[in-house]
Structure formats: C-alpha cells, structure tokens
C-alpha cells in the first residue's frame, strides 16, 4: 500500500502518498507544481477505519 498516488487537483500529475502517513495528518507535495495535499480532520476517522480493516484482512491472510 506504499506506492499509491492521487492526481494533483491543480495539474493532474500523480502525487505519491503513503496512506498511513496521510491518515496521520502528513501532507504530500505534487512533484510538478508543488501543491500540497492533506486529508481533512473530519475525514480521518473514516479513512482510519478502512485502513485498519484492510490491515486486519491482510494479517488474517498471511
């Protein structure tokens, strides 16, 4: 899950991010236009829930 990217809202260049760090509040910069993206405080619980469920599922299947 460490090689994800999201299109930059300004120039559409993929911005690589780590979901665990994004959820922890870290911001990520667009490699082309340097726009910063970060998750809103209100969205953290939902993202954290999905992240934990995926982590649990992965653990069960290893």
């Amino acid at each position: 899950m460490n090689h994800l990217s999201i299109p930059c809202p300004t120039c559409a260049t993929p911005i690589p991010f780590d979901p665990a760090l994004l959820i922890s509040g870290q911001q990520f910069a667009c490699p082309k236009c340097a726009s910063m993206i970060g998750i809103s405080r209100e969205s953290i619980p939902l993202a954290k829930e999905a992240f934990e469920k995926q982590k649990q599922l992965k653990k069960q299947n290893t």
């Binding site: 994800l4 300004t10 726009s35 998750i39 809103s40 829930e49």
Partner: protein
C-alpha cells in the same frame, strides 16, 4: 476411497478457501460504499399509492377493505424504505475530503476535493494462488475402479494446514491483479477527480 472422491475433497478445500477470501473482501465493502437511494424510485412508488388514495377519495369509496388495502400498501412502502434503503437505489462510494492551499486574490485559502475512499485505501485482492498436497497413498483397482487408499503413519499437517487423514493440503494465498470491476471503478475515480480540477 474412489479417486473422484479424493479429488472432490481437494477441490472442495480449495473452493472453501476461495469463498472465505471472497466473503472477507465483500464484508468490508460497506466500509467503502453506502446506499445512494434513488429519489425517483421512492417518489414513483409513493406516488402510485397516493394516486390510489386520491382516486378512492374522488370516487367517494367508503369501502373499509379497499381503504385497508391502500393503507397497507403505504405502510409496506414506508417500511421497505426505512429497513432497506439500499433496495431503493444503488450504492455510492464514501468519500473523504482532501484539502489543498490555493492562492487567491484575497490570499491563501484551503480548497477541498472529494475523493472516493477507495482511491486512498485500496481494497486488497487475494486469491488462492497455489495448493500443495502431500499425501502417501496406495492406488489399487477394484471392480475396474481406481481406488485411493491413504497410508497411515505419515506426519500430521503443520499449523495452518488442513489435514485429511494423512494427506496434507497446504493452501497458499497471494494478491491478485485488480479485477475488471475495480479497474473500472479506479478509472471512474480518476475522472471524478479530474472533474474537480479548478478551471
């Protein structure tokens, strides 16, 4: 045991593992999607009942049975909508809000982009990749039928392995490539993100 039965047991073990994986993956779908509801569906169902009521009133119908029937339909519709909102429409992806600073004439302000959760925390996709079977068997023929006889005294399966007599089935699961559905969803997510790009 007939050879066909022996193979069937192995097939069932693999199938059961795959079904468990699918179930686990399906169970967390509700984390990513929520009922969208379809106001048009709800409106048309309720409108039909309301229309019946209007017709009954216009005709001056004073039939208790007919009134009861209409009220029953109305109650059923409301009950259905309350209990199963997903039945009235489709699912929509849950979204999270991504913030980014934007330079405006009034200074820097935070703009927001709504991103499907699936784009941030992707669904894991696993399948049974390999099945190894260790077995000591005797093959013999009886009435023109090939029989498998499992030999005793073989080492038992390790933890995590399914043991059938002295046969060990070792199932390995591994991530698989995204399904076509997931690829289509990802493409949709990208289109949705692009549509939110400032002009």
């Amino acid at each position: 045991m007939k050879v066909a039965q022996f193979i069937d047991v192995i097939h069932r073990a693999i199938q059961s593992s795959n079904e468990t994986l699918t179930r686990q993956q399906t169970n967390i779908f509700e984390t990513y999607f929520e009922p969208a509801g379809d106001p048009e569906d709800i409106d048309s169902s309720l409108e039909a009942v309301i229309n019946d009521m209007r017709l009954a009133l216009q005709s001056g119908e004073n039939n208790a049975e007919a009134q009861e029937h209409i009220l029953g339909r109305l109650k059923k519709q409301i009950h259905e909508i309350a209990l199963h909102p997903s039945k009235t429409g489709t699912l929509k992806p849950k979204t999270i809000t991504i913030q980014m600073p934007e330079q405006t004439a009034d200074g820097v302000r935070m703009s927001e982009v709504h991103v499907p959760l699936l784009a941030i925390i992707p669904c894991s996709n696993t399948k049974v990749a390999e099945t190894r079977i260790k077995a000591s068997v005797n093959l013999r023929e009886e009435n023109s039928e090939l029989l498998v006889e499992l030999l005793k005294g073989q080492p038992a399966g390790n933890a995590g392995e399914t043991s059938i007599g002295n046969t060990v089935i070792d199932i390995t699961i591994a991530p698989q490539e995204s399904t076509e559905g997931l690829k289509a969803l990802t493409a949709g997510i990208e289109r949705s993100l692009r549509s939110q790009l400032p002009l």
